[in-house]
Amino acid sequence: MSALGAAALAAALLTSIYTVVSALIGARTGDRRWVDSSRRAYYAVFGLLLVAVVALESAFLRSDFSLELVAGNSSTTTPTLYKATAMWGSQAGSLLLWAFVLSIAGSAVLYATRNRLRELAPWATAVMAGVATFFIGLMMAGTIFPSAETYPFAALAAAQVPLEGAGLNPLLRHPAMAIHPPMLYSGYVFFTVPFAFAIAALITRRVDASWIRSTRRFALIAWVFLSLGLALGARWSYSELGWGGYWAWDPVENAALLPWLTGTAFIHSIMVQERRGMLRVWNVSLIVVTFALSLLGTFLVRSGVLQSIHAFGESKVGPPLLVLIATVLIGSTLLIISRLDDLRSERRIDSLLSRESMFLLNNLLFIGLAVIVFWGTFFPLISEAFTGQESSLAAPWYNRYTTPVAIGLLFLAGVGPLVAWRRVDPAGLRRAFAVPLSVAAGAGVLLVAFADGLAEPFALALFVAGAFTLAAVGQELWRGTAARRALSGGSPLSAFTALITRNRRRYGGYIVHIGIALLLIGVAASSSFQTSRDLRLEPGDSGTVGDYSVTYVRPTSEIDPVEQKIAFGAIIDVRRDGEQVALLSPSREYFASSAADPSAPLRGFFEGEATSEVGRKEGAARDIWTAVQPDLSSFDPVIDRGDALFARLAKRVDPADEAAAGFIAAQQGQAIRSLADRYLNETPPAEIRFNVNPFVIWIWIGGIVAMLGALFALWPGAEARRRRVSDVYAAKLARELQRT
């Protein structure tokens, strides 16, 4: 099976090289046979990579440790879900995933445009196949340079095949973590499609909006994937790490945020080009930058050039990726410069108060945000270059700059839908802005009067902007529904459904704006009004945190022989005004270290990985969040005594004697159990972090609403289906005409 996968991967490399060559010939000569052949070859790349992925997945599911990748990232005791997802826990597996997703995205767009964009498609095919060739080539290069660890099917020599694999890191055993990497990768990869068509449009000088129309869905899909990847990462950080935050401005997080920012700008600005024929240079530049930032994200994760909690160890794929990024940037820039004449706008902006200038302003803010994040992320390299001293910027620096821009963007999310294209007259302005502005002002007054809003001016500004945007979008939906009812009657609900399904793109966008407003309100509230306290409690002790009284009721302990872990926890009673709000049971799990010293089996349990199981109660107004860290220093003498005993025992028995080994294992199990009992009976004090996080749940709700809105926007409407049918018909007609 693995041999089949390896063969398929090698064949995929040859096929994708053929795709590039045939697409280029087809593009130069205009010969349809070459073009069709290159398109089919691209489909074949998809098929071959599918075989490779299935083969590798089956090796993971069968725990075939003769593959280096499986032995290093999975084990027989790994739960099945994580066996399946362990593939992208490694560099080689991630590369395969990258190439595979690219083959899906590319095949989809080539199929969708098979009867359209005859001039652009072959060039775009060549670009997409070129990128695929790069990544498949990187994997195959691993057969020549095994130390680069890029080849997914690297086999271990028969003598080296271990009985048990290394397993997946316990921290990563979380459903969000299982799908977070492929979502991010898919986000990165799907931006390749609009990039490829932009390049094709530049080469052929067909720089009207047709390349945008055929690929904007792919940009939206990329946006949804990236958003989902970011949201899952944040969610994992919040619920799994004993830290309590969801965003830390870590370089790798920023690397995923950067293409999201420029991609969001792109999704907005292409509407101006479609509608008014403006911003052409801007749009091609944006998609080039977005694609380059996607590659940079992949590079940052893997290269170890920046200090990050995600640092994956230094890898050898950094230099080739940098070469690719440089090629993309330099090549595209030269291409854009040589086509400047063709890219001139059809029109100019009529008025500063028009939808197109709002889009422009929104773009400037998004780019400004991207520049800030980029600068902060790469500051260690910049400062080292200028001062010789590597220094880094922390969250407060990012917050100071990003918060005002975020407030501006949130405000624009409400202004944009209210202003018309071209220009607005003062009467229309009043009509559109009266209600949202009064809602925003009302919200501001209420917050200042009842919630001491002035104490946190930035949070207050974000809430006011959020209220404005929610009111503005709500008003648009309301007026649209009312107008539709006046026209065709029916119930409010049917009128509303008719309204939004008639213009999915516009109203899907509005839904995204609602989601982002909710999300940012959640971010502002939870970061400005968090209550956090560390308590050191023994069973029976109580403490107070803000309005809450917290009691450590009793300890808990649990042994899991399958995952080889032991959990020590606490039952914590949370009350407010004497009334129970929550009964939480946070715990800390200790995983036996497979690298432990065999002569100290008990110590090994507490020197391996340890993870926090957070005790959490989510609510619409606030989350109550606790993590516990038992102070096990009083266990040290007991552990040392036990280990000394086992060390003596191990010396006396013959390692080959199975009965004796079994006896020792049973004794070790007994010893671990008695440690667990000791935790219950002679409970040591525990450090308990107790957070009250207001409105956090709105971050997740807002994120889901935004993604659903984007999905709604990209779902093909009735009009698109009609267009597709007519395309197929036109192609058929063209073929018949050729024949006669």
Binding site: G72, N73, G89, S90, Q91, S147, A166, L168, N169, L171, L172, L241, G242, W243, G244, G304, Q307, S308, I309, H310, A311, F312, G313, E314, S315, R348, L364, G368, V371, I372, W375, G376, F379, P380, S383, T387, Q389, E390, S391, S392, L393, A394, P396, W397, Y401, D534, R536, A595, A596, D597, E607, E609, A610, S612, A627, Q629, D631, L632, S633, R689
Partner: protein, 141 residues
């Protein structure tokens, strides 16, 4: 005013705003940044100033108690600097791991860390070459 002139003015205003922002960005980032150091460099720099110290948790140095105490050495070993730390200890923290902690040396030569400033590098399964230590199956990134 004729439209061309108006556009020019707009462009100048926008560009100067961008330049101002850029200068502010550059200026504050050089001021706000913490210099990154290894423990040996920290010892050379002396007490008083706050730095981001990157290093390895020294073997056998971790003492859990009311506050966490541990030693931190350069990546390739050397003298351990004692650290006192209060706040959340990240899950992957343990001996031999690479950590980043923000703080300043006091007069006793102890690195007093800022609350909640401890960062532990993610122990990803993505392993580099597995050093000489036969016990280490997976090295940390």
């Amino acid at each position: 005013m004729d439209p061309a002139k108006k556009r020019q003015i707009r462009l100048v205003v926008a560009l100067s705003a961008a330049v101002l922002l850029a200068v502010a960005l550059i200026y504050t980032s050089f001021n706000a940044a913490n210099d990154a150091m290894e423990p040996s460099e920290l010892l050379a720099a002396g007490p008083g100033t706050s730095f981001d110290v990157t290093g390895k948790v020294a073997a056998g140095s971790v003492e859990n108690g009311d506050t966490l105490r541990f030693g931190i050495t350069d990546r390739d070993g050397g003298r351990a600097v004692p650290v006192v730390y209060d706040g959340i200890v990240p899950d992957p923290f343990r001996e031999g791991r690479e950590v980043i902690v923000t703080g300043a040396l006091n007069d006793q030569g102890v690195l007093v860390a800022e609350k909640d400033s401890l960062i532990t590098k993610c122990p990803s399964k993505f392993a580099e070459e597995h050093g000489d230590d036969p016990n280490v199956i997976i090295e940390d990134g």
